[in-house]
Amino acid sequence: MSGSANAPTTSSAPPSRMVVDARGSWCPGPLMELVRVIKEEPVGTEFELLSNDEGSRKDVPMWLEKAGHQLVEVRSETGYDRYIVRKSHE
């Protein structure tokens, strides 16, 4: 299960869905991880960003809007949030 405590930090899950476990990523931060992987992956890829940084609730939607990518869903899990994001363009 992608959200388990011992899940791989970044792993590919079929099809074109990538889990980015950025819990505990205080430096450089979860949004930096999201920006990085979005640059690397093709258009249409979906990402599950896991973050326990409260600032992500503001930063992630704000950046996605500016960058023109889609925030599909935000789920509150125990101790962290799961952001489902789709890359919309190069």
């Binding site: 011992n6 930090t9 505990g24 990523s25 430096c27 931060g29 950046w63």
Partner: protein, 381 residues
């Protein structure tokens, strides 16, 4: 005899080699365990010193030592470039054909800067991520008579995430000390909508930038640099002219990670964030910049990770399960001027809260820079 092979003679590889030797002192002394470390040049670089070289807080020669002098005499140093890890056959192939079999492999091959990945970077930007360029930047600042300086991040991930903040604040102090701050502008760009990744750090740093008269451009993701026109263009559409550009180059993991099929698209190795084992590889541990763990690529991270890797390697050598967890601990200073600093200390569960910058924190960093060789690299304490 059991063989432990370590790839990389940076902070992570050196300290973990010395710690494993210490943890398995009896086994190494009696020849039951052999420790080998492979390093390309056999020169150990203290990379946090490069920024200090730019501002003449350290001399270039203070950032380098012979690796052989730092390793315990019972650790075999193999000079050579790793060509491939054959994880199916449990062996490392060194360029030139030499092969080193292993029972346990520790990969500490760090990150490699690739300025050529950003158009115009090599011709148009200064940086301080290797010693030669740090010295060039030092000379350029010495000749600088005023104008517009832009500090920018050209790729992610990059090592020492706080470095752009540090160079900005040190630059401000430097220009004041030269009496040319009023003839100069400092512009800071960052890829996300704030000056650093999380609020507890970004807010005090942004406040400090306001006090120092730094102009902030966020979000700004570098598209290209035009060396002739002296401009830097962001994918968001903004173009900033500069007289002197200081940029953080793109980074990648080591080439052999890719050719060995161990890495992701950036040659970072998917790694269990707690046990620090390469995913799907029972006898390969990874530490430092080489992992894909989304925390600071920094010497401090490698140092703390080395504690867990040492315990886990020693356990496996003794036939026990590796159970020691790395909990995400990192401790980094942030220079906020030429003689003041703050710090961030955190783990996976606890975010950092940098204290008010002070001379005392700066002095602690100076002391660490001096004691690094014994304290961390030789793991004497």
């Amino acid at each position: 005899m059991k063989r432990v092979v370590i790839l990389g003679g940076g902070i992570g590889g050196t300290t973990v080699a010395n710690r494993i030797r210490k943890a398995l002192e009896g086994e190494v002394a009696t020849g039951q365990v052999q420790i080998q470390l492979i390093d390309r040049e056999g020169i150990h670089a203290y990379q946090p010193g490069y920024l200090m070289v730019v501002f003449e807080k350290m001399r270039p020669e203070e950032t380098r030592r012979d690796e052989a002098q730092l390793l315990h005499k019972s650790i075999q140093l193999v000079k050579g470039e790793v060509e491939k890890v054959d994880s199916a056959a449990n062996k490392v192939v060194v360029k030139g054909g030499k092969e080193l079999p292993y029972d346990i492999l520790v990969i500490a091959s760090g990150s490699v800067i690739h300025p050529e990945l950003t158009p115009g970077f090599v011709e148009g930007a200064h940086s301080f991520y290797d010693l030669a360029n740090a010295q060039k930047l030092r000379a350029a600042l010495h000749d600088f008579k005023g104008g517009k300086i832009v500090v920018s991040v050209a790729g992610m991930p990059y090592k020492c995430p706080v470095a752009p903040l540090e160079v900005t604040f040190m630059l401000d102090d430097f220009l004041r000390s030269q009496g040319i701050r009023d003839k100069s502008e400092i512009h800071y760009t960052y890829p996300i909508p704030k000056v650093f990744g999380i609020d507890t750090v970004a807010q005090p740093m942004q406040r400090l930038m306001g006090e120092r008269g730094v102009t902030i451009h966020v979000p700004f993701n570098v598209d290209k640099i035009d060396p002739a026109a002296k401009t830097i263009k962001g994918v968001e559409g903004e173009t900033i002219p500069y007289d002197l550009l200081i940029a953080i180059p793109p980074h990648r993991g080591a080439d052999f990670v890719g050719t060995s099929g161990l890495g992701d698209k950036g040659n970072w190795i998917p790694t269990d964030r707690y046990l620090l084992r390469a995913e799907g590889k029972e006898n390969i541990f990874v530490l430092g910049d080489a992992t894909n763990i989304p925390i600071s690529k920094a010497g401090s991270t490698a140092d703390y990770e080395a504690e867990a890797v040492t315990h886990n390697v020693a356990s496996m050598i003794r036939g026990e399960a590796p159970t020691t967890r790395y909990e995400g601990r990192v401790y980094c200073w942030i220079m906020t001027g030429l003689a003041q600093a703050t710090y961030i200390k955190f783990d996976y569960l606890h975010p950092p809260h940098p204290p008010t910058p002070s001379f005392a924190h700066y002095w602690n960093k100076v002391i660490y820079n001096r004691t690094y060789w014994d304290l961390t690299a030789r793991a004497l304490f």
